[in-house]
């Protein structure tokens, strides 16, 4: 019974942290500080990504511009008089013996487009210089 008579041990009270009042303002402040710290990093990262994208797009622009130029040169080569004359000769065409002129009252067809880069960009459709 001795044991039963023993008094219950004293409750250990321990060290308790002082209560701090955590308000919404403090959380907001912490978030702002964190965001401010992260902002330059994020901004820098975004700029780098955008810069990279821009560089890629510029590269594509250059490549396309060069391809356009290559196509222009190819068109010019294909429509060259020398090539057309050679091709006509290869398929057995010969110059006409005589030219027949017919006077008609209607307006003629629109002149063909000029296959020059700047004129394609800046002239109205169908505009061209009279030969």
């Amino acid at each position: 019974m001795t044991a039963l008579e023993r008094t219950a041990p004293k409750t250990y009270r321990g060290f308790s942290l002082p209560k701090i009042g955590v308000s919404g303002w403090v959380i907001a402040g912490a978030l702002i500080v964190s965001a401010s710290a992260m902002a330059p990093v994020i901004q820098n990262s975004l700029m780098t990504t955008q810069g990279r994208n821009l560089q890629v797009l510029e590269g594509q622009h250059t490549t396309l511009r060069i391809e356009i130029r290559q196509l222009e040169a190819e068109i010019a080569r294909l429509v060259s008089v020398e090539r057309i004359a050679r091709r006509a000769s290869e398929i057995g065409l010969v110059p006409g013996a005589s030219t027949i002129f017919v006077t008609i009252g209607e307006a003629g067809p629109e002149p063909p487009k000029i296959p020059a880069e700047h004129l394609l960009e800046h002239s109205e459709p169908g505009s061209g210089l009279a030969p």
Partner: protein, 575 residues
């Protein structure tokens, strides 16, 4: 225990003084570096940190009058190899193989070139096509660096090559339009300044300052590619038929001075041009503007125009041809030693009578005759916009060894040397109302923003009146249509013109070889084209009328038909 007091000594000041002196020196050096020589060191630091490159602007294109491309610049790469990267044999071997596959250069040759050059960056391939070069650069071949460049291409082949001219390896024009308009075509080069690492390579995402290059404007020629092709083909055939050594054909709009076609033979070929061959170097010269020759009887047109304008003769003025004209006792004969009896001035042109030309010159007198030659622009450049133009030679009374016979000979095209372009310019004035117009090869420039700058024709003189010009058209029409067969008469159009046949002058007289020509225009009353056909040293020795006349006639029919001008010879038009 008593402390022993340290003995006083002055040595302690020595390190203090030494440190002070050192500090002063450091300070002085800092002042020198940071303040006095600040700019110099800042510049050195910048040059260490930054590197720059010139970015050449794209050279403007050259187009014909209807906008068809004749010359343009295509993007290429110049490939360099950083030689220190290739110090490792294995790296060098694999890199050289990769470059060899793309460029066709021998891999061993590339390795030797880089090894023996002694340069930091070695140029291994120039003007590599853009696609091939980009593929190589994207493959990160060790040590390979590509610099953008351009190469001139000619989509229409060698058409008008002597007019267009060539450019050098540094993209500057050397001959022709390329040289004359070089500063315009070249544009404004740009510049890139970038941060670099210790090897000199740009630092990715480092600071970069770029001045964009401004491409040169495109140049629109007065040349029509169809007419140019027709002229070149006609000339080629004529050279073969008459076994001539060379020749030229010029087609001009006499109302504006526009050169519609300018063909020369031989001509340079862009792809096979070898400047180490002296014969090919000769081809860089445009013979139609650079080479002089005695025009022969074509010059009688000028003599007649002068005499009529001075109101000393009319087309119907007559004189008696005896086959010989004596000038200061020197006999001058007709071209075929013919005797034509009484002749009008129109007859003089029709029969090409030398004594008749001398008759008109004597009416004018040497002074007035030379005034007219000057007014027509002989003896000076026409101002055509292409490099290498010659002024021609006109012997004058002030020249050493002058003789009045010289003036007489000049009246029928000897003792005077002209360029084909000079003659065409003068002849245009005789039929276009008397206006001497500066010939031109460029009619407009188009900037990259589409702004078009039209270049206008320049009237530079009025050697004869419009009335004289009308008379000349009629007289020259009678030359081609004399009432009998004339090889220079077109089938479909009225025309006027005159032939010329002149022996080639040598030191002590004249050679047996000859230069034949035919100059004419059509239609007769409203000339749209003026054509000069010239053949040099034709081995068959036929005259200008026989050799060059038919070429002129065929060209008139073809070119005016191409221009959409209805025929004005009734019986043919009606068929």
């Amino acid at each position: 225990m008593a402390h022993q007091r340290a003995k006083r000594t002055s040595r302690v000041w020595l390190p203090a003084i030494a440190f002070t002196v050192f500090a002063v020196l450091v300070l002085a050096r800092l002042v020198q570096v940071q303040i006095l020589q600040h700019d110099q060191y800042a510049e050195e630091a910048r040059s260490e940190l930054y590197s720059s490159d010139t970015v050449f602007a794209r050279r403007g294109a050259i187009l014909d009058r209807n906008g068809f491309l004749l010359a343009m610049s295509m993007d290429t790469w110049d490939l360099y190899v950083a030689s220190r990267v290739w110090k490792d044999d294995k790296t060098a071997r694999s890199a050289a193989e990769a470059i060899s596959e793309a460029t066709g250069h021998d891999a061993t040759y590339l390795r030797t070139l880089v090894k023996e050059s002694g340069l930091v960056d070695v140029l291994v391939a120039r003007d590599v096509p853009y696609d091939a070069g980009k593929a190589l650069l994207d493959a990160n071949v060790p040590g390979l660096v590509g610099l953008p460049n351009t190469v001139r291409v000619h989509p229409a082949g060698n058409l008008a090559s002597s007019v267009i001219g060539i450019i050098g390896a540094d993209n500057t024009g050397l001959t022709g339009i390329e040289a004359w308009y070089d500063s315009e075509l070249l544009g404004t080069p740009g510049r890139v300044i970038f941060e670099r690492d210790t090897t000199g390579s740009p630092i990715p995402y480092g600071e970069t300052f770029t001045t964009e290059p401004v491409p040169g404007p495109d140049i629109i020629l007065t040349i029509d590619r169809r007419m140019q092709f027709t002229a070149e083909r006609s000339l080629q055939r004529a050279i073969e038929k008459h076994d001539a050594s060379s020749g030229a054909i010029i087609i001009m709009d006499p109302q504006t001075g526009d050169i519609l076609a300018l063909a020369t033979h031989p001509r340079l070929t862009f792809n096979t041009l070898d400047l180490s061959d002296p014969k090919q170097v000769q081809l860089l010269r445009n013979s139609a503007v650079s080479d002089i020759y005695e025009p022969g009887s074509v010059m009688k047109i000028i003599t007649a125009a002068a005499a009529i304008d001075a109101e000393l003769v009319t087309p119907s003025t007559t004189y008696e041809d005896t086959g010989i004209a004596y000038v200061f006792g020197v006999p001058l004969y007709n071209w075929n030693n013919g005797v034509y009896g009484e002749q009008t001035m129109t007859g003089v042109l029709q029969q090409s009578i030398n004594t008749g030309a001398v008759f008109m010159m004597e009416k004018l007198g040497v002074g007035l005759f030379h005034q007219y030659l000057d007014a027509f622009g002989f003896g000076r450049t026409t101002g055509i916009d292409v490099s290498g133009e010659a002024a021609g030679l006109v012997r004058r009374p002030t020249d050493p060894g002058w003789s009045p016979v010289d003036a007489a000979a000049q009246s029928f095209g000897q003792a005077i040397s002209v360029t084909p372009i000079q003659l065409v310019t003068a002849l245009a004035a005789t039929i276009n109302g008397g206006r001497l117009i500066e010939p031109r090869l460029v009619k407009a420039m188009v900037a990259r923003d589409g702004t078009r700058d039209e270049l206008s024709s320049q009237v530079i003189g009025q050697p004869i009146s419009p009335e004289t010009s009308a008379i000349m058209r009629s007289m020259l029409g009678n030359v081609i249509d004399p009432g009998w067969y004339h090889p220079g008469k077109p089938h479909l159009y009225s025309a006027g013109g005159k032939s010329g046949t002149a022996n080639v002058p040598i030191n002590a007289g004249y050679d047996d070889t000859q230069i034949v020509s035919f100059a004419g225009f059509a239609p007769l009353q409203d000339p749209r084209i003026l054509i000069l056909v010239k053949l040099d040293e034709n081995a068959d020795l036929v005259t200008g009328t026989e050799a060059a006349g038919p070429i002129f006639a065929a060209l008139v029919d073809e070119v005016l038909g191409y221009l959409g001008i209805p025929p004005d010879i009734e019986q043919v038009a009606a068929r």
